[in-house]
Symmetry: C2
Subunit: 221 residues, 2 copies
């Protein structure tokens, strides 16, 4: 015991968890799965890859124990195997944000200029929810809202927002949120609402971070 070979094997095994996340497409998969379980086909669509390739990535995550799968009829649904995996992904993101200088510019290449978007922190939103003077929009696809959402939020999937603007009371303050800091839905929603003269802001991050912070959540049905 205490010998080099065993140490190598042990640390190689520990590094397997990192290897599983060490790919942009698999990172995207984990990011989506943090919202709730998904079928292979849906996941393939989310990450713009073939089903075969997505399946292989999922096998890799499965082998590392980061996700689990269950069959329902002809479909197979994948989900994160524990909240620790979500924490791991968030911590990794945080490390990258802190230490990779170019990340900001890559983020705005994808998300567009955020400097003009109003932002509220989790704590601010929590306080305003308690006061009850804010309309909170969950702008993720509906199944993700069903799987879990901020208590008091209304589900308005991205493609429905335009046609449902009328539901927002005059003069209301709106906060939109989606999957996390690198998700475009809330940004797009805030831009649209602002253009229509509605006072709107984006939650600084998304539902998984809200839930991880032990803030009040709800689940449909």
């Amino acid at each position: 015991m205490g010998d080099r070979r065993a140490k190598t094997v042990l640390y190689d095994a520990l590094a397997e968890a990192a290897k599983a996340l060490a790919n942009g497409r698999r990172a995207e998969l984990v990011d989506v799965l943090a919202q709730g379980e998904r079928s292979v086909e849906e996941l393939a669509e989310e990450i713009d890859q073939t089903v075969a390739n997505t399946s292989q990535h999922l096998q890799r995550l499965l082998k590392a124990g980061l996700v689990t799968s269950r069959r329902d009829g002809t479909r197979i649904y994948y989900s994160l195997s524990s909240p620790v995996v979500g924490t791991l992904w968030r911590t990794m993101r945080q490390a990258a944000e802190l230490h990779v200088a170019e990340l900001d510019s890559l983020a705005s290449d994808y998300l567009g200029d955020r400097s003009k978007l109003n932002t509220v922190t989790r704590d601010q939103l929590k306080a305003r929810l308690r006061q009850g003077d804010v309309v909170v929009l969950d702008v993720r696809p509906e199944p993700e809202f069903t799987a879990g959402h901020i208590r008091g939020a209304i589900s308005v999937p991205p493609q429905d927002l335009k046609s449902r603007l009328g539901e927002i009371p005059d003069g209301a303050d709106v906060v939109a949120y989606c999957r996390g800091p690198y998700c475009v839905y809330a940004d797009d929603a805030v831009r649209l609402l602002t253009r229509r003269g509605i006072n709107a802001a984006r939650l600084e991050d998304g539902f998984p971070e809200w839930a991880a912070a032990q803030l009040p959540v709800a689940r449909s049905r």
Copy 2:
């Protein structure tokens, strides 16, 4: 904005942090660096690799922003660039422990059978330190003790323990700790002490976890 190419680039960049940790030798490096800064040569010795190879791994960590370096004379010292990196490593370990079934057996291949070793948790040790009825031994190499240690601990580097057994008061309860859950020093120390009839236990993990839990630490000079 919101297009696939930019999203790919962004998530690839986020995955860089994982790639940096996605290698057993680099994981070992981070594990050691969590104790404090080290020179390339020392690190090479710790991970049983050539200096050239160690240097390349360090470059990789540097490029990902996980470590920083400074020159002092002819030596270059590396250290973790922030506490987040330590958290990342611990979270990764935790994920592997939870989800990789074989990890237990790999750990005991390296560390030996731990079932007969007494263990105390951080909270237990905290309470006993407050009562003052415990001798705490830091069995890491001396520079790591100097860089930071559990308040009230005594530095007894691994190779010195045998010759300094006389310093331990008769009938004392001893707790030994080292770098973390996969470090052999504390295990070896507890085995030695127990064989000599001294009541000894191992702290469940090491100094970085103690410090991360905001428990009382001290620094020499």
